[in-house]
Symmetry: C2
């Protein structure tokens, strides 16, 4: 089974180490080979290399551009996917080896199973089905597949810009399948995603650690500064405390509220499948709005402090706090960068600390929103009715899929997100999985979508 082979490749793009980069190159080569065997015309575009903040230089895995069919009477659908994954550390909560696809009760566990190797293969499987039946493809198909999505799609924008009038010139529609449903069984179509701005705040006394017995009591300790800085960002109700941060958030209309009311979301089931006792909000509408149309701030962790089991009496000499703000229409990445930096500088200056603080935004990704009356939205709805016998939930996604916004802005083509995975797939967390049922029905859905696109185009 191909998904098993693909999951076995440790294509982690987040940890900037040579071993994982090699795995990424291997992943892209395997995918290019699969597409070639399908009869596609495949180009692997050299993406050069990446300069890291520490001076290290790492090669960027190639982007695959592939084409299958070139009939001018047919519509052309371009599928975007990524084959890199989030870090996965066996032992840290994983019940199975994250890089060995393991089926338990109809669930296929493995890093990348749902984000995004499974959906990429479902699309390939749908194309293969037409090939196997010796049927003509109802649409021309293009693929753009990258290996740096989890690290911010490094250098991809430049490539899309360059290919705007070449590879993308014949493309009518762009499909992405890189998010999840909001229920376990009901399919969905996604018309908007949040952006993201990722911040690092470094506090440094010196580059060496201290012993808390020898120095505790006389130092401006970097961890005390950092904890105060991180503690100034968000209150216990989830409200972000950075001044001005809500200024550009789109005003809420009555019409928009109605779209949330129409959505099926069983809060009880959602809580159970998430294994969360209590959310910040009690109604379906509030929860959806705080996932989709309001910004959120999460503190991810601290680099440079003591992070292992046991008790170490260390005063870390320099520490880096990491947090991010999910952005919504019509927040602006560079305005947010300024607001956060100014706020942290304010808080820090009030502490009169002798340490050095440096704030940097290492990733800035725009939010995206689409027109849900475009042809391919209607085609996707009809395909879902055919395969699942139900209307889809029309949803947004709280995650960032910056490529959607990018395609819209650069290529000026309609973008739709057709997720395949269930709400409890655990993308980015331990024990990521895709259900066997979702994987197979998803393949059928893409095949039906090709047929509907041919009719509507």
């Amino acid at each position: 089974m191909t998904l098993k082979e693909w999951v076995a490749i440790e294509s982690d793009s987040v940890q900037p180490v040579p071993r994982f980069r090699q795995e990424l190159f291997r992943m892209m080569a395997v995918a290019a080979d699969t597409l070639q065997r399908l009869g596609a015309h495949v180009t692997s575009v050299d993406m050069g290399s990446q300069q890291l903040p520490d001076g290290q230089s790492l090669p960027i895995p190639p982007v695959i551009l592939a084409e299958l069919g070139n009939d001018p009477t047919k519509g052309t659908v371009c599928f975007y996917g990524h084959l890199d994954v989030q870090p996965a550390d066996q032992g840290n909560g994983w019940l199975t080896d994250p890089y060995v696809l393991t089926e338990v009760d109809g669930k296929l566990y493995g890093r990348g199973a749902t984000d995004n190797k499974g959906p990429v293969l479902a699309w390939i499987n749908a194309v293969s089905a037409f090939r196997a039946l010796e049927q003509d493809l109802p649409v021309n198909i293009k693929f753009i597949i990258e290996g740096m999505e989890e690290a911010g799609s490094v250098a991809l924008e430049e490539l899309v810009e360059k290919e705007k009038n070449r590879f993308f010139s014949g493309v009518d529609y762009i499909v992405i399948s890189d998010n999840l449903w909001i229920s376990q069984r009901k399919p969905a179509i996604t018309y908007g995603t949040r952006g993201n701005s990722y911040f690092m705040v470094e506090v440094k006394c010196r580059d060496q650690d201290f012993h808390s017995g020898t120095f505790g009591g006389i130092l401006h300790e970097p961890m005390a500064d950092l904890v105060a800085l991180l503690g100034s960002l968000v209150d216990s109700s989830g409200h972000i405390l950075v001044p001005g941060i809500y200024d550009e958030v789109a005003p809420l209309t009555e019409e928009e509220i109605n779209t949330y009311k129409a959505i099926h979301l069983d809060l009880e089931e959602y809580r159970n499948s998430s294994r969360v006792e209590k959310f910040l909000f009690d109604t379906k509408e509030e929860i959806l709005m705080h996932l989709w149309r309001y910004p959120s701030l999460s503190i991810h962790g601290i680099e440079g402090a003591f992070d292992e089991p046991g008790a170490k009496t260390v005063i870390p000499g320099q520490v880096i706090g990491k947090f991010s703000i999910r952005l919504v229409p019509h927040m602006n990445v560079s305005v947010v960068e300024k607001q956060v930096t100014r706020h942290l500088e304010d808080v820090f200056s009030k502490r009169n600390s002798s340490n050095k603080m440096v704030v940097s935004m290492t990733l800035g990704l725009h939010p995206w929103i689409a027109n849900i009356n475009d042809t391919q939205y209607l085609a996707a709805k009809r395909a879902i009715r055919t395969v699942f016998g139900t209307e889809p939930d029309m949803i947004r996604d709280g995650s960032t899929i910056p490529i959607a916004k990018m395609f819209q802005e650069i290529v000026h083509k309609s973008v739709v997100l057709i997720p395949l995975g269930a709400v409890d797939d655990g993308e980015h967390s331990q024990n990521e999985k895709i259900n066997r049922w979702n994987y197979i029905e998803g393949t059928k859905l893409f095949a039906a979508f090709f047929l509907e696109m041919a009719q509507l185009h």
Copy 2:
């Protein structure tokens, strides 16, 4: 050179993993062998095993009890030392391999070089010198050497209690050399140490992490709770905010202030050697008092959050914050435990978080203070005059050497701390070292001390 061989053994007692435990057992066996070859009568006491919070059980390395000489007309001095070390991670700031003793400009770099393998060997070398010269030892010598000091001297107290009327019955004085001078060149004698209380505060939503895109905005995020809890502990001037924490701190007398004034401490040199731009206090007296006679609170780090380089958009599902409070006379460990727990419960309850919080004190060590007019204090002063040609600084230590307090309370014998290492040795931090000069003069000092003890006893 024996110090090189001893440093090469990765006897890390802090990280509770089998590999390091095996190294600890090897370390104790090597030391027992060295003492046996010196002619000592050596017993390696089986210490049983240790139950960890996660249910794991690990064996505790044996404690060495050794005796050399049994002349009832002579005094008996017992030397305490430990051969376990703090964790050391090459790459994380170490310029040389921490487990390869490396000499650079007269400095011997390596984990354990100054804490505490070097001083233990200096004592052994002093004894060897008398042996090599075929001279009678001026005093009877006993050794108690353990391998769990950095992990809180697990099970040692029970052993000392048990040996009170056996191994310790003939002991007149106890010497410990497990701390540092407060200057680069001037020796010191230590008559007090701070205690320590190490806390873990766990905040849990669920045992799996979340993706910040999928859940950011609707969760009581454990990191937000934890950062608020840690931020409530100490202000930017180093003042501890736990109610009642200063209640039992010994009142400051005029006489005590005078002892600080008499101490030689070049603040400029101290700052330079520490590579700290600015301390919390500007005078010698304030700095000494906040290191020795006032409590301090340090935040060490967070377990379970994202701690690696790069950017990961994770919401950690459960996190453990680690901090400790250094205790001074006459603070009480169990009172402090109650105060801290109550304070954190207060702060947490005000957040109305749906997460679970658990506070635990995993280590509680009493402060210690001695009578500086005891015989062995006078002998140590005279030996220092002989070897170094100067009066020692009479100091306390901000670090915890719980064994000092324990010997005083259980064995009822006078305890003295005679440090050998310079202020910039970097115990517990990266690039720990002992100066070759300190190591050799320290050996002479111990030999001179034996002779002075024989005279004064």
